[in-house]
């Protein structure tokens, strides 16, 4: 079965990012497909590579990046939500005249159309948030 997952909350806020990550891992382990994970609202904060959590704490950004890179999961950050919160890839940084970008490996920035497409293509949409 194809699942789409939406994450509406940033890391280390309550538990949405952790719950979504565990759900995605469990679904993949069961042989399901994760069509896409869409990060919306404060959820875009999961996608900055500049996070430095304490070494004895979980590193949520790295965990998401690993899922994307090792298990081929599409991680999409909402562009409008990302711009408001300072999450930029190289193209956006250039376009906005910023001196750096911070998108984490395995994440990509795109628009709400990606969420709509996920809703159409996936059999189920599971939302995690506050």
């Amino acid at each position: 079965m194809k699942f789409a997952v939406v994450v509406n909350e940033g890391p280390y806020t309550h538990q949405a990012s952790d719950s979504a990550l565990q759900f995605v891992k469990a679904a993949l382990d069961k042989g399901h497909e994760i069509f896409r994970v869409f990060f919306y609202h404060d959820g875009v904060n999961n996608g900055t590579r500049l996070t430095v959590p304490p070494q004895d704490d979980r590193n949520l950004q790295r965990a998401w990046s690993e899922i994307a890179l090792t298990r081929n999961v599409d991680l999409v950050v909402c562009i409008a939500a990302a711009q408001r919160r300072g999450i930029l890839d190289a193209n956006e940084a250039k376009r906005q005249g910023k001196d750096a970008d911070n998108i984490a490996p395995g994440f990509r920035i795109s628009g709400l159309g990606q969420l709509i497409e996920a809703g159409i293509e996936a059999d189920r949409v599971v939302v995690f948030g506050d």
């Binding site: 949405a16 069961k30 059999d123 189920r124 939302v127």
Partner: protein, 102 residues
């Protein structure tokens, strides 16, 4: 069309748990996750709602979230089934849609 309702906040914090149970119809399931698992306690003020609806609606609580909050399996109300993340995935797959009460 059956629906899996997920609730992630304690019923003592918000009304989302009560709303989920009020909207769930026969054949639906309610899954308590995150702080929502506090509603599953046997001695809690929410347990009469669980007892009242457990016939028509299947009720589940996420085991890792219960454990993280110090709620032991024997303290969970009758009528609540404890599941892991794999059970969460199964519930999402076996119901036609998933409604998150955020």
């Amino acid at each position: 069309m059956s629906t899996l309702h997920t609730v992630n906040k304690s019923p003592f914090e918000r009304g989302s748990m009560a709303s989920a149970f009020a909207h769930a119809v026969e054949g639906d399931a309610v899954l308590m996750i995150e702080d929502g698992v506090l509603g599953a306690r046997k001695t809690g003020a929410f347990s009469p709602t669980i007892t009242g609806r457990s016939g028509a609606v299947s009720i589940y609580a996420l085991g890792p979230d219960l454990a993280a909050r110090g709620v032991k399996a024997e303290d969970v109300a009758d009528g609540v089934t404890i599941v892991g993340y794999d059970g969460f995935v199964d519930l999402a797959a076996t119901h036609d849609r998933v409604c998150a009460w955020l």
